[in-house]
């Protein structure tokens, strides 16, 4: 299949031949090519040209408005010397690991629980998944209220009689990032559960039947047969969640606004505030390019793999 050509090691040799064949076809039968052309041009401009544009800006001294003077790697050196950027990066590390870890852990557990011939499955599944249809702004607004120490969950538990209960993560600079993680996990777990449930349902039941006949215990079957087969589902889930974590902007803005102080600063909020509120467009661009490279590093191998497995 031609799919392999897209990502094989010598695409450029073949590119020339493709272009020739393409031009010939374009002359003979232009309609299909003309139909796809608008979308293609739109993507070329809005994705590829714009990324190059951002890259260019990151090598300039642009502040409030773009300037096109060459400044070399200066902005990247500045970026990596900013404590705020370190805070954003380390928060992304904490957020990424715990958000992905908890979403996958709880999602897998719920999927296994739901796969036990549960009577009300059709009723439970939508309940677990509905947060995924909400905007992060809605979720953030709601949870900001739930996590409000004076009025929210803290007060409810104190009213129940546990007077010393404190749950003030959202205003505690050391804990605020965990509040963001909590809400992110709440929003994404149902989705991960759905992925895992589809994975569980896709496993060949003959193998399991055979193992049961052999007298293997249910726990052993889960550990030895089922969980190993879910590793590709897990990989998909981790990549999608990592992608969401790197991009996540709305949730932090709605929940904490990046605060208290810069306690919940993430690269996405950093990029926005440096570009649009602090008028340091070149530094903002440099941070955007760092984010882009990170996403490429996460998604690239995955896409490559997807194309390769399709070929087989």
């Amino acid at each position: 299949m031609r799919n392999s050509r897209l990502l094989s090691l010598k695409p450029f040799v073949l590119l020339g031949r493709d272009i020739k064949a393409f031009l010939l076809r374009a002359r003979q039968h232009p309609t299909p090519i003309l139909v796809i052309l608008p979308s293609f041009l739109l993507t070329i401009i809005f994705v590829y040209f714009f990324i190059l544009w951002t890259l260019t800006l990151s090598f300039t001294t642009s502040t409030l408005i773009p300037q096109y003077n060459w400044a070399g790697w200066k902005q990247y050196f500045i970026l990596w010397s900013l404590p705020n950027w370190y805070k954003a990066i380390s928060n992304l590390g904490i957020f990424g690991v715990l958000y992905i870890g908890f979403s996958c852990g709880i999602g897998l557990l719920l999927a296994i629980l739901l796969d036990q011939r549960i009577r009300f499955e059709g009723f439970i599944r939508p309940i677990l998944l509905y947060p995924m249809s909400l905007s992060f702004i809605v979720t953030g607004t709601a949870w900001k209220w739930l996590l409000n120490p004076g009025l929210g969950i803290e007060r409810v538990v104190r009213n129940w009689g546990w007077e010393s209960f404190t749950f003030n993560w959202i205003i505690d600079p050391d804990r605020a990032i965990y509040a963001v993680i909590l809400v992110g996990v709440w929003q994404s777990t149902g989705f991960v559960m759905t992925l895992f449930l589809a994975g569980l349902r896709g496993i060949d039941s003959d193998i399991i039947k055979a193992a049961l006949l052999e007298g293997a215990s249910i726990y052993k079957i889960y550990l030895r047969i089922i969980l190993p087969q879910l590793r590709y589902t897990l990989l998909s889930a981790v990549i999608i969640l990592a992608h969401l974590a790197i991009k996540s902007y709305d949730l932090v803005i709605a929940l904490t606004g990046g605060g208290p102080g810069n306690a919940t600063e993430l690269p996405a909020t950093f990029m926005y505030s440096y570009t649009f509120t602090r008028s340091k467009m070149a530094i903002g661009s440099a941070s955007a390019i760092m984010m882009f490279m990170t996403v490429v590093a996460v998604i690239g191998p995955y896409l490559y793999n997807e194309f390769r497995t399709k070929k087989q």
């Binding site: 799919n3 897209l6 064949a21 393409f22 039968h29 299909p32 139909v35 796809i36 608008p38 979308s39 739109l42 809005f46 994705v47 714009f50 990324i51 951002t54 773009p66 629980l113 739901l114 796969d115 036990q116 011939r117 549960i118 499955e121 059709g122 439970i124 309940i127 677990l128 998944l129 509905y130 249809s133 909400l134 905007s135 702004i137 809605v138 953030g140 709601a142 900001k144 209220w145 739930l146 009025l151 969950i153 009213n159 759905t194 992925l195 349902r201 039941s205 039947k209 999608i240 991009k247 709305d250 803005i253 990029m271 926005y272 649009f276 955007a288 882009f292 896409l303 997807e306 497995t309």
Partner: protein
């Protein structure tokens, strides 16, 4: 995929089954509890919110927070409620969804039934666009919309949503048409049907499920968008999510939590209703968007 609910392997022991049902109940409660609190809070007076337990049902049931959120609450300095921003979002979502779905259908059709040399390059380039973090294109997009004089204008946001949605919609339709029998298309060609005739008479009528999936996916994404809205619009042109955020995060005045909750529910309602009415398709879209191919 097996049919739902017939797994070969499951735990029989009654005690374990009680624990399983207990855990699932707990999960359902913790997923529903924020929604419950939002709803009850939106019907309470501010006084009651300060006084009583968050979980309690409203004592003096009031619709005022809803009325206030819809037509009186202040977003910035403008105190005319959220209704105009709600309409803004609709104005953006409807054309955005329709056009990007239509383009996706055309592209999927070309990429499966009218392949040309290099079609995989085109698809690969379109697909990669789905994954970029929007921060990497935010500044150029803002400049371009400014130059074209369509920033702070629904047309600008529609254009942006089409540009970054078309990769996904193409993916949906490509995967759907890939398994559509090519023989049918060939037979129609022999009968003398042209490119567009086949598309409108054969492909589109048999694409209802994927059109629904694509529609829901795009509707949810565009309605819930925040970063484009906040970057490219301001004042009266902002979409619903941005208005909600400005309302809930305004630093002036008393925090009217009941109004905030009513506003959040209003902002959530379109996508939530869509999800409740067509959950199956929503899940399909998520899965297709998640597991490529």
């Amino acid at each position: 995929m097996k049919k739902d609910n017939d797994s070969v392997l499951y735990m029989h022991s009654p005690i374990i089954r009680i624990i399983i049902y207990g855990l699932l109940l707990l999960a359902c409660l913790s997923f529903l509890f924020p929604l419950y609190v939002m709803i009850v809070t939106s019907f309470k007076t501010l006084e009651e919110i300060r006084k009583a337990n968050m979980l309690a049902l409203p004592e003096n049931f009031t619709l005022m927070p809803w009325i206030s959120a819809w037509q009186e609450s202040c977003v910035g300095l403008r105190c005319k409620g959220l209704k105009d921003y709600f309409y803004n979002s609709i104005e953006i979502v409807v054309p955005g969804v329709v056009i990007s779905t239509f383009l996706g259908a055309c592209n999927g059709y070309v990429l499966t039934k009218w392949r040309f040399p290099g079609h995989n390059w085109v698809f690969g380039l379109l697909l990669f666009g789905c994954f970029i973090p929007f921060q990497a294109i935010l500044i150029p997009a803002a400049r371009t919309l400014g130059i074209l004089a369509i920033s702070n204008n629904p047309i600008g946001l529609i254009l942006v949503h089409i540009a970054y949605g078309v990769g996904f919609t193409t993916l949906f339709f490509r995967n759907y048409y890939e398994v559509f029998p090519t023989e049918l298309v060939q037979a129609a060609t022999i009968e003398g049907a042209g490119f567009f005739q086949i598309f409108f008479k054969i492909m589109l009528p048999s694409s209802v499920p994927i059109i629904v999936v694509c529609f829901i996916w795009q509707f949810t994404n565009i309605w819930n968008d925040f970063i484009f809205g906040v970057s490219f619009t301001s004042g009266e042109g902002i979409p619903m999510t941005v208005a909600l955020n400005n309302l809930a995060n305004s630093s002036t005045g008393v925090k009217e939590y009941n109004v905030h909750m009513a506003a959040a529910i209003i902002a959530a309602l379109p996508t939530l209703l869509l999800y409740i009415l067509s959950g199956r398709y929503f899940v399909r879209g998520l899965m297709a968007g998640a597991v490529k191919g």
